[in-house]
Every structure is written in C-alpha cells, then in structure tokens.
Amino acid sequence: MKINDLECNGCKLCQPYCPVGAIKNPKGQGKAVSQIDQEECVECGACLRAAVCPKDALYMPELTWPRTLREAFSNPLVRHPSTGVPGRGTSEMKTNDRTGRFRRGEAGVAIEVGRPGVGATFRDIQVVSMELAKVGIEFELQNPVSALMVDRETGRLKEEVLDEKVLSAIVEFKVKNDRLESVLKAVKELATKVDTVFSVDLISRIYPDGSIPTVPIAKKMGFSPSPNTKTNLGLGRPLKED
C-alpha cells in the first residue's frame, strides 16, 4: 500500500487502522504527511478498506513477485494463487466429516507463524518448517506455504521469498498419534528459535466414548488446550467414517 504524498494532508486518521503499525508521520521531513513503511506493510488492505482518508490518498500499486505474497497471505479478500480461494490455509477440519482428511489415530497440527497480529517474514516461517522437517513430518500439500518449498524433505523455502513479511502463514501437517509427543516437543522448542510469535492448533477425531486422544498428550508436553475449540458437528453427508 502507498500514500500519495501530494494528496495526504497528514490528518493521521488512517494510522490506527494498520494492524502492524506501519503508517507513520516521519519527523523532520518538512510537510508532515503520513507514510507507509514498506518493509513493515503486509499489504492486507485494511487501511484502504477503512475508507477514512478524506483525500483518497491511499492506493494499492500493482504488486510484483515476490511482494504479491504479502497480499496473498495477509488480505482475506484475495484469492490465494496456490489454493484458488481466499485464506491462509486449507479447509483443515471444517469439512472433515465429508473429506475424512483426519482419521482416528491421527492428529492434525498447524503452526500459525506471526499470529496473533505480530506478523512474520518467510525467514521466520522457514525456521519453523525446517525444524519440523527434522522430526520427519509430511507437510500438507494443499497448503500455500508448502507450495513455496523447494524441498519438502527439509522444509526449505524459495530464497527470493524469505524477506517478505505477512500477517501470518500456516505450516500444516498431520502425524500418527503415537508420534505426536515428539512433534509437540519440537514445537515447544521453536519458541526460542523464531523472531516472532506463533499459535498452535491441534486437530483430532472425537471417539465414540467422547474421548479426544490428543488432549492428554498435549497436556503431558506442557501445553494447555483451550476450553473453546472448533468442533465439526458431523452433519455433513455422505459421512466419512473410519
């Protein structure tokens, strides 16, 4: 996103709408117009959608590769080129009653790098993907981060994307429950290795007796599963059962 400095009157109305605080009035530069820090801007479009600029000074320039990734991962209204739909990940468990992607005995894991709200560069995201690759997971092929990998064995991403910053990106995979403990240990260790924050999601089938086998494993590994969850009610038909 850019600001036409011939139009901007420096009113600052747009500034609080930027989720990453990238719009500022630089000091000591004569006319106090607002400017967008292009390193920090994730191209989410929030400032433009806010439509608060009295001078219509905000505009979206034509983005070129690899900067286009910022918009694809950060603007929820933009269709992602690798998945063809808006959003940063996949349908994961939302349609699991129809797709059967996660079966009994399997856990789905997602590491949302940059969430909540801090943002991340693909360099941070690569740290996550490469550390997790070491414990032998298989990345979800439909996921847009997987599409940027040059080597799915090591989790290495394309060199030219590493300095691009996005609001968040999701590294997704599934593992057998008997391997979940070692994977969550590696996830725990990521906390000291990344230069941002990350949120962790854990998916499981609910067993007929109501038990959720991933929860005790997560607790054992020092995580506190949230009391609020996303729950697929199983109303999809035809129903995929194991």
Partner: protein
C-alpha cells in the same frame, strides 16, 4: 484457515461468543455447483430466522445485509455469531432437521457445544484445540486488547484501532456501541462479535 479458533477470554465471556460456520468441501467442485449454492441459500434462510439475536454474520467476503445474503447466489461459507447458547442450539437443531448434508462447525466453549450435540441426540465428529501463542509473546498487546483483536482471525482488526477507540471513549467522543461497530466493520468475514467487544471496551475504559 483457522480464523475462528484462537479467540481469547474468560469462560464467562466465551459463554457469549459462539461462531457457527457452514461450509461445503473445496475439493469436489461442490462449492460452485447449483445444488450446493441452492443449499447455501437455504442455510442463509435458516440464519435469518435468528437474525435479531445474532451478534454478527457474513459470507467471508463482504458484510452484506441478511436480505441480500438470503437472495444472492450463495457463496462458499456462511458465518453467524451467537451471543447465547439457546439460540445457537435452536439454529443447530434447524440445520440438522433440514438435512443439508453440508459441514457445520461451531467455534466456542467445547463443554457447551458438546452438551448441545448431546441434547440434540448426535455426536460431534472432529475437534480442533488452540494450544496458545508461543515465542516472543512479550510483543503481544495487553490481555483485553488481544481479546478484541483475536475475534478477527485474519487480524485485520488493529490493536492500535482498539486503543485509539478506547481513548475516544474516555474523552467522551464516542459511544461504546459505535466503537464496537467500528472495530467490527474491519473484520470482513463477519465473525467479529461486537456485543462482546462492547463489554470488553467497558472494562478497558473503567480501568482508565
């Protein structure tokens, strides 16, 4: 795309915050089919029965009035935000009885969602837990601000906007209701809960 998962708050607050999602699978060409689109239109008709009790709703792409969503060619997802479990339960009952065969997901307190399923005599299928935020968590805003911003899973509701609006309320330049609506309009999916945001803003300003 776990945009409704990592909402934060006390158990009491979360009792007023349930997001219902109805979504067909992406990979069967089914989202675009006439049959699915027709069913999604009917889903919106079901949602419309509860409109006065909803805190928010949306199709993931733009914030449109219920009448438009009901009559438009339905899109890929339908969201509705409930502020009480009894209305949520009534809506889930209707969705179950209409047998659309489309996946239905609730983001909210598992204990309550599980009870609703039990009361309606079916068992939930799959669950996703948040295991929290890790790494440089010292870079996160304060607890109350985070409770507001995490109601937009894509994080296009800015913490700076929340703080700015708190300041405006404190100066008597804005009402709680208007501030909550201003925050809500920045979440294009329609999963932000302005009813809950208003309560959080009251807490934030009473501390000021």
């Amino acid at each position: 795309m776990t945009h409704s998962l990592h909402r934060r708050g006390s158990i009491e607050d979360l009792r007023e915050d349930f997001v219902l999602l109805v979504i067909p699978p992406r990979d069967e060409n089914s989202q675009e089919s006439e049959e699915t689109q027709g069913k999604m239109k009917q889903v919106w008709e079901v949602f419309s029965h509860y409109e006065k009790d909803l805190s928010n709703f949306g199709n993931g792409l733009s914030l449109l009035p219920m009448d438009v969503l009901k009559s438009n060619k339905a899109k890929t997802i339908a969201h509705a935000v409930f502020k009480d479990r009894e209305t949520l339960k009534a809506c889930v009952r209707e969705l179950r009885d209409r047998q659309f065969g489309i996946s239905v997901v609730i983001s909210g307190l598992y204990e309550e969602v599980n009870k609703i399923c039990s009361e309606l005599d079916f068992s939930p299928h799959t669950v996703e837990h948040s295991l929290g935020a890790h790494g440089q968590t010292e870079r996160l805003p304060g607890k109350n601000i985070l409770e507001i911003t995490t109601m937009c899973g894509h994080h296009t509701v800015s913490p700076y906007l929340a703080m700015h609006l708190v300041e405006r309320i404190n100066k008597g330049k804005m009402t709680y209701e208007k501030a909550a609506k201003e925050l809500s309009r920045m979440c294009t999916c329609g999963i932000f809960n302005p009813h809950r945001a208003e309560n959080i803003l009251r807490r934030l300003t009473s501390k000021a």
